[in-house]
């Protein structure tokens, strides 16, 4: 049984967020499922009418977050876990530099996380408890040719979560950064990723690692591969197609 009783999952309408919501509810945890698409949230509510309620919200509506956060914790009746897994990755061509696409990634993947997790950090700092989980990506480990701003947005998230962890650990708050590798989600569907992990498996691993309070890869092989990639000499790295 999960030790979480009241959770907010931001980005709950599909992929990892959706699976996390279902897993948490199956363990008896009450979940506020936050996402833009209300019809998707209704499905989740129907699956667990007593435990899940949807909160329709676009994470780029930053100004709404403080009031919405307090209202949501009120409806939950408490809070011990916040997971931020909203993320977008529009298709970007190998020589394309499209500001609108890049901006959307920073707004959703980075600024939305700051808007929500700053609220969680304030609350947990004051209650001296709680767990914050941010879903980053192995893509944030290096700037690569395929997705400059997606890489940058995830690197931002990693550094921000590390700073939150360093600030909050003395207050008894756990901050965990998850760096999944390829996962089968709507976001990655067009990429035909080889060896991608089902979202349900990823969600299960994320819940198991949520209390660790450090950077977590989901597989030991990812840890090794991305250690090598991170330390790959930059002169050689630019010649690679990864």
């Amino acid at each position: 049984m999960s030790k979480y009783h009241h959770a907010i999952v931001v980005g709950a309408s599909s992929g990892i967020g959706r699976e996390l919501t279902l897993l948490l509810a199956e363990s008896g945890c009450k979940v506020a499922a936050v996402a833009r698409r209300g019809d998707r949230l209704e499905e989740l509510e129907r699956a667990h009418p007593d435990l899940v309620f949807g909160v329709v919200h676009d994470v780029i509506a930053y100004d709404d977050v403080p009031a919405l956060f307090v209202e949501t914790t009120g409806r939950l009746g408490g809070l011990d876990l916040v997971v931020y897994c909203s993320g977008v990755m529009p298709e970007v061509g190998p020589s394309e530099f499209d500001f609108a696409k890049d901006r959307s990634m920073i707004e959703v993947n980075a600024l939305g996380a700051v808007a929500w997790l700053n609220q969680a950090a304030t609350r947990f700092q004051n209650t001296r408890s709680g767990t914050i989980v941010g879903v980053g990506s192995v893509a944030g480990e290096r700037g690569r040719v395929g997705q400059p701003v997606y890489n940058a947005s995830k690197a931002f998230l990693h550094a921000y979560l590390e700073a939150l962890r360093n600030r909050l650990s003395k207050h008894g708050v756990t901050v965990t950064t998850i760096k999944p590798g390829p996962v089968q989600t709507e976001m990655t569907a067009r990429l035909n990723l080889a060896g991608a992990m089902p979202a349900k498996d990823a969600a299960r691993m994320i819940l198991a690692k949520a209390s660790l309070g450090r950077d977590c890869f989901l597989k030991p092989t990812h840890r090794l591969i991305f250690w090598i990639i991170r330390n790959f000499p930059t002169r050689l790295f630019r010649k690679l197609k990864v």
Partner: protein
């Protein structure tokens, strides 16, 4: 006043540290400020829980996601008359503030709990008793006037000739806010008591001591070793105490420095550290030894020999080791206290011990007292005895502890016994209904509908028990 926001949130914990909940803290300094808190609750669609020093053991002074009306800044003593002994204070004053204010004039609170830290408001909300409960009843019986602010906005002055007086006091802060009270203090001519310790070999002797001294002693309390079985079941140490008469005009025993509890043991060992050492022994094996040692010492030392002890040292035994509750970390503890009519008490308490021993969940500290009934609404008083049992709680044993508590409840209810909201952490709605009775609950709800029609006042306990 601003609405609930993340800047106000904080964790509220019961004294036993098992019950916890996060709420939005408001610390008003005036009755106007309290009205603003109700307004903030109304606007945000939330409820309000009243909290004093947070010395209730369970979940009476917390409410997850509610507004916490913290009384500790409303702590002024408004009037003190050393001729009549009448003291008027805001509800956030503590019993400690009160005795420190009055003792040098020769007055002591008529009823005190085993700790000096509760607020006056909390003491009245729970209608606390002390070791003189069989003679002096509850603290509410010594109050001449209270001021109550209802959530609907009315200010009422209530005296003992009003029915509402007996409802506002004892109703756990669910009807209205007691904002100030006038207390009739007790005249004392000495700061010391004459204390008589009597070692008791079993329940038989414990009850015999209570019966022998109930018409005479000013205070009585029994400590019981909950690990002792069979013929030794109920063994422990009984204390009776009497006020002393000192002929001197202003005896030095009334002075603060004579009352202050020392902060070291034997002059050098700092008491602030004691809970850390106690924690090492705070398990079934260690506590069995400590209970045995305490009982053995009671037989060998001081048995039957009266000695003087300061009012503070005798009354506030729980304050002797500061922060002792932390010895129960990380899981915390609960106190299970039941009040049983005198004709059934011996059987029920012996059976409660048997159940604990069978479940291997013996209470680490058991305290035995004599009581009398009173006319307050959510009264815990009976013409009988109470037994207070401290149980260590861990993540693993919590379901077992609750089961044990529920089994012990059945014994208490069958015997016509009662419970005490300041201590309760495990009652179920059916237990509360059974001991309070439908008539009492109807009276509670009728008054609630009048004073708090929007249902703004609540607590985690009230919701658990279905009181509101």
């Amino acid at each position: 006043m601003d609405g609930p926001s993340n800047e106000r949130i904080g964790r509220a914990t019961g004294f036993g540290m098992v019950a916890q909940g996060d709420g939005y803290w408001y610390r008003p300094t005036s009755v106007e400020g309290i009205r603003d808190v109700f307004e903030a609750a109304r606007r945000s669609g939330r409820k309000v829980v009243i909290r004093g020093s947070g010395r209730s053991y369970g979940d009476a002074a917390l409410l997850p996601e509610g507004l916490i009306l913290d009384f500790r800044r409303m702590n002024n003593i408004l009037a003190w008359d050393p001729e009549t002994g009448l003291l008027t204070a805001e509800a956030g004053v503590t019993l400690e503030q009160i005795w420190r204010h009055t003792l040098e004039d020769g007055w002591w609170p008529p009823v005190v709990s085993g700790t000096m830290f509760p607020t006056l408001g909390g003491a009245l909300a729970m209608n606390i008793h002390g070791k003189n409960a069989y003679r002096k009843g509850t603290i509410g019986e010594h109050v001449t006037e209270i001021e109550v602010l209802t959530p609907s906005g009315r200010t009422l002055i209530l005296q003992p000739d009003d029915d509402a007086f007996y409802e506002a006091i004892s109703s756990a802060g669910l009807l209205g806010v007691i904002t100030r009270a006038t207390l009739q203090m007790k005249r004392v001519s000495s700061g010391d008591l004459r204390v008589l310790p009597l070692s008791c070999a079993d329940w038989e002797e414990q009850f015999a001591c209570m019966e022998r001294f109930e018409g005479d002693a000013d205070y009585m309390v029994g400590w019981v070793d909950a690990f002792a079985k069979g013929k030794s079941c109920g063994r422990g140490l009984f204390h009776a105490a009497w006020y002393l008469d000192e002929p001197a005009e202003r005896p030095s025993s009334l002075r603060m420095d004579r009352q202050d509890l020392p902060d070291t043991i034997l002059g050098f060992f700092p008491k602030s550290m004691v809970w850390r050492y106690l924690k090492k022994l705070n398990n079934r094996w260690g506590m069995r030894q400590i209970n045995w040692a305490k009982y053995t010492a009671s037989r060998l030392l001081g048995h039957g020999k009266p000695h003087p002890q300061s009012l503070v040292a005798f009354s506030f035994l729980l304050d002797y080791v500061p922060n002792w509750q932390r010895a129960y970390l990380p899981g915390g503890f609960i106190q299970y206290q039941s009040f049983v009519p005198k004709e059934h008490a011996r059987r029920v308490f012996a059976e409660q011990f048997r159940m604990q021993q069978e479940a291997r969940l013996e209470s680490f500290l058991a305290v035995f007292k004599r009581h009398r009934p009173d006319r307050f609404l959510l009264s815990h008083g009976v013409d009988g005895y109470s037994l207070a049992l401290d149980f260590k709680v861990t993540e693993r044993n919590w379901p077992e502890v609750r089961r044990l508590a529920h089994r012990m409840n059945e014994l208490v209810l069958e015997a016509g016994g009662r419970f005490y909201l300041a201590k309760d952490a495990t009652l179920r709605p059916e237990d509360a209904r059974a001991y309070l009775g439908d008539e009492t609950l109807t009276r509670l709800r009728t008054r609630k509908a009048e004073w708090d029609p929007e249902g703004l006042l609540s607590s985690a306990q009230a919701e658990r028990l279905g009181l509101v």
